[in-house]
Symmetry: C2
Subunit: 136 residues, 2 copies
């Protein structure tokens, strides 16, 4: 750990998030963050750690790394350009739509799982019945 609690080594982050150091370096290679260096050793800030968290969340939601990068960049400080703000809002709307559809899919699949489990339980009960009858 660092002297203050505000920086992390690459292996600390890899352990915390259950990914390899290679993965983290890969994320840097494609521009997801640019950690400070002491010599050639990387030093990760809390901001970097947060970005990593967002990337992994994005992955679980099926985003590509470039997509995650775009979303992360939206949260960055002021790019005051009006045009940029408008396109950012547009991007936000698109992502929201995507999430909305994903939510529908998720609900449907949950329902399917419920049905499947009930079916299984019914069959199990039936086979137990059969078994009991045999025994008597």
């Amino acid at each position: 750990m660092s002297i203050d609690g505000n920086t992390y080594t690459i292996s600390e982050l890899s352990r915390e998030f259950g990914i390899t150091t290679r993965t983290i370096r890969h994320y840097e290679e494609i521009g997801l963050f640019t950690p400070q260096r002491r010599g050639q050793t990387r030093i990760f800030s809390n901001a970097d750690r947060t970005k990593l968290k967002l990337i992994l969340r994005g992955k679980r939601l099926g985003l590509s790394l470039p997509e995650s990068r775009d979303i992360i960049n939206m949260y960055e400080p002021g790019k005051n350009n009006t045009q940029q703000l408008l396109t950012t809002i547009e991007t936000i709307h698109q992502q929201r739509q995507r999430l909305q559809r994903q939510l529908e899919d998720l609900k449907k699949m949950m329902a399917d799982l419920d049905r499947a489990e009930n079916g299984c339980r019914a069959e199990l009960a039936a086979s137990r019945n059969l078994h009991d009858k045999k025994i008597r």
Copy 2:
């Protein structure tokens, strides 16, 4: 189309779902379904069409094709083997947990998007204010 309304050609399905015929053949190659044949031409049933739908939904939820295949097979008719039923239920539980976590992620990301959009709108309002002042 077919004579009855219960079968589909490969191109009909590809059009309906916005994927290429080659993709559908790829799904067959890895065993996601095994359509009937008339000669060497594939004839898809309603069941095949449903499987395709489930695969695409799975993809949107970030499932791999083998994972989707496993889920599809769960819905298939009776594999009465008790042990199989139990492992199926176990699989269902795991998928449910996955979906549960995904739902959390989804909510968080929605909240983030709301916050980001509000930020953008605030900035836009601020820059409009600035602009007005300049004009006067």
